[in-house]
Symmetry: D2
Subunit: 332 residues, 4 copies
């Protein structure tokens, strides 16, 4: 149950109430908010006189539920806004990994050419083998920051584990929590206090319930700028790398109030299917898509098979405009 206490309830009293009701507490603008376990369906008598409004919830999807906020939350960064009444579908692109100044400048040119504002690239790569390229680390973050200064882009980059969360928070405009880190309490709790938008990727072995509950860790830390990213789940099918779960996206749109961003590149794992899937995602009316592009995919240090080259991306981007228009969305 979500409880909005009256605005005049002090910080110490709110904390005490949270403690005595086993609730999580944060402040949403001026309003003290308590989140009690969802098993509690009736407002506790002791809270009645102190409460402005309250919402019982079906499950521990509480702050993210349409039962609490029936509209999609608005999330903003740089010149970009998604969710709310915006009708926007954001297109985010860039390489899997920052590899060099030259490479990232080529990516920047592509964004500039097409008027795209948000650049994605990874510096800390969650590779499955210790014997391959692990990302440029802090140096990669610094290259991304240079692109922001020079070109005015917003930067989205991934935190792999809690040891470098502070660096990512410092350099990124949007903090991306990778699929393999979805359950990482160290990251989730820190992001709850980060004051920046967070893109939470669904673990490829994670249910929708778990996925949204991980978003609750961030929301209940007081950070209301959370976006959900579906990037494919692991199934028995191995012709493609993962299986993009658009049925799950339909569920998220129906039951949660968080913007939904799709990542067809990681789902497919092969460049040939990305354009078709990207059009499908836009036709679903989602809030954004992430597409991996690389100036020369064949020599990419990670995810070589799934990145589009810049020509392929230009063609795709142009084809997305009429699809977005057909479902009353604007590409931004």
């Amino acid at each position: 149950m979500i409880v909005h206490l009256k605005d005049n309830i002090s910080e110490p009293q709110s904390l005490e109430l949270a403690h005595s009701h086993k609730a999580v507490y944060f402040r949403s603008k001026n309003t003290p908010v308590l989140v009690l376990p969802s098993a509690i369906k009736v407002l506790p008598v002791a809270l009645e006189p102190l409460t402005k409004a309250h919402w019982p919830c079906d499950s521990d999807i509480q702050l993210a539920s349409k039962a609490y906020k029936p509209e999609t939350r608005e999330v903003r960064w740089g010149k970009t806004v998604v969710g709310g009444n915006s009708g926007n579908t954001v297109v985010i692109t860039g390489p899997c990994s920052v590899e060099s100044l030259e490479q990232i400048e080529q990516s920047a040119s592509l964004l500039n050419e097409l008027g795209i504002n948000t650049l994605r690239a990874g510096a800390f790569k969650p590779r499955t083998s210790p014997y391959t390229f692990q990302g440029m680390g802090i140096e990669g973050l610094q290259l991304l920051a240079r692109m922001r200064e020079k070109h005015g882009f917003s930067i989205i980059t991934e935190v792999r584990d809690a040891t470098h969360i502070e660096q990512v928070i410092e350099y990124a405009d949007i903090i991306q929590i990778g699929a393999k880190a979805m359950y990482d309490h160290g990251i989730l709790r820190r992001c709850g206090k980060a004051g920046k938008p967070v893109l939470l990727k669904r673990g490829f072995g994670s249910t929708l319930q778990e996925f949204v509950q991980c978003a609750e860790f961030i929301l209940s830390g007081g950070n209301e700028q959370v976006m959900l990213c579906e990037r494919g789940i692991r199934t028995f099918e191995t012709k493609t790398r993962f299986t993009l779960d658009l049925c799950g996206v339909a569920y998220l749109k129906e039951y949660t109030n968080l913007p939904v961003i799709l990542d067809p590149s990681h789902a497919m794992g092969y460049a040939y299917g990305v354009a078709d899937l990207a059009r499908a995602c836009v036709a679903m009316g989602v809030d954004g898509i992430l597409i991996e592009t690389h100036p020369q995919p064949r020599v990419a240090l990670s995810d070589a098979s799934q990145q589009l080259n810049h020509d392929e991306f230009r063609t795709l981007y142009r084809s997305l405009q009429p699809v977005a228009a057909a479902v009353n969305r604007k590409l931004v």
Copy 2:
């Protein structure tokens, strides 16, 4: 390996060659065709003088492969054509099960109103419990035949098991092989001789490789009018009934020459997500979609939760036109 023998090779000689090369034999128009195991990569010397053309294949996806025919095959029924150069996306609708004359007449009205030509409905239902409605059987087929006579529709209906395959072949314009019957050799082999289009649904636990190989049973029986239908696979996610595998659809479009029809209703299992998914499917440029509709979904005898009512379908249908146009497809 696929071998086109010279047209003047006689039936008995073709059969003998098939036998001596452990090949499957059929006649495609005038051409005798042998399909040898895909492990054979070099044309056997004995066949050389008798052969017009041959295609080595990577796997036992042979007749269905783009390596053999690089264009999508054309399939026709009634006034409808899909595949080939048609640029068509067919919309097929109707109830899960035929339940009564009254019900199926109401469905017919909907099709007439929107100019839809192909009516779907099941008479033999592959229910998982013996203690629920099992379909109207032959009586259901007869009601569908009445709709064809009266309204000029083409009829697509499902064969559940080999015991009633003759009846379905007799009454249907398109034979639908259900997901649970995908591996049924009795059905597949009989459909290879049926002389009518076949819609083969992917088993929800079946890989793409197995799926297309089951289509090979029909194709190699001599029936070249085969369409593939993705209808959701079974994954760990249970908020939705199945997971529509659009990555798999991208694979089928890239590597096979068979038209692909999508069934978002069975994948989702809930009416609320069907419209969004249907738009996504159309944006992928597929050859058709199947949408379950019912005059009164709440009282449907099967699949009550996922069928759209007629108003919901009208709204959906109108919204599909601009999406189809955005990807240069025509709805038929």
Copy 3:
């Protein structure tokens, strides 16, 4: 709900009652049995005076449930009994496919040497490609029948689809319904009238609920000699062919009254793991195991990688005795 009518209720009256209550009817020895949909929790008033006993059920797992019969049902063939109070774990072996008289005689020697009574081998193979060995068909069944006559074995062999169900019923002592045919109503309903034990394999994409509900089709046809066979489910893991679901076996033992037979050969897909898995199965106290063996696995026409050679099987068989003893089971 299961209803035992009084024994003196006549056949016509029973049928009429079944019709008016949308129930399935069969006769268990002298007792007329109705099975109503499980949604019915209270005995209908009209049935009260005609009823000897009744059992409400949680789901459409009814006849197979421990709620109905708390003990494992006894199933018998030849000299063998499993379930009931027998404490027996049956070991069944033989090749994947009958390939020749010579091959099957070698298998027979192995069984004779070890005192094994039940020979398994397939004649109708549910292959996924039309371009590979499809089984010897009726000729294979005849070879198996010769082994029965000569050596006194009981024969278990698989029905692939409904077109040859009569032949399998005629030749087999135990009818095996293969994983890909689990949902086949034509087979299930015919087996309900077959008067012989049936081994129903779980579809590799099928839930336990669906699996046991398919057994209900046979049981409610009046054939109470049904055994369940877990043979591995399809998961994301591809190092092994399937994933043997022993958690599911624990569920079946807890909630159903049918004997459970395990097939580690198909689950593993590689000979190297079969012995370890077989010992695990026996330690779980199951009613039997099926192990594929072949005189020369390398040249087997199907499933070459997973069949044990006869020496490997001898070693395994000897190692099973102490494991069975450790859990108070007898190998038969």
Copy 4:
């Protein structure tokens, strides 16, 4: 490729060689070890004169492979040894979470009574909801340390994320990396330097390849005391919480040199199946099992449904002895 340099190669020279060959470097006792990407199949000429021995590897499973060390590695803690020639199967038990001094003392009594030396309990719980019990944290670790001092147990406890890795390393005798943290580079790399045995749990959505490659992060950090723990994977089946992958265990035993510990409690999710599964695991000849027990499972603050009460565990433990003996293993 794994390269053992000659023992007299100095630290600086080893580091330089590692750098120039993109290799990971650590010292195994006195031997400098380089691990090059597995794509390299031939010893680089520059390394030839400096090399004592080298092993090409099929995949990035290198240090953990039987190709490198054909025997299972020995791992030791307290009075316990597993792997090597020990023939031991260790039984580890205790509650899911430390909840109070009273509770953990009751668990301690159980261990003492049965002569079990290793106590498991979690202090940092990776819960999926922020609105439930999150573990006692450092206080929990201190209670576990008291049990070690008082009773002489070895303690195994879980690290949830990298923020408290130092505390877990300080207090634990065996560091358990939870399933949800399997990919956590911060944890894996720190464990590579921890100098204590590590139990790595398989992520429930992780392939065997990824699982063992995560162990490679620890091994290649120089910590050779790594054990693998299979605890169930996520599949479509929902009657049980997860699916214990014993086929996967057969793979691990065949291809890797790390001891394998099984956790049937988390796989099953329900107490009723744990005993049967535990016997199956022991019959497979694994190196150990983890069983969750609680003095009063019904009031447990986490995983209430799957923990055995102490009477159930006593019965189970006694039944394991003959099974272990049947496969020539000793319980420790």
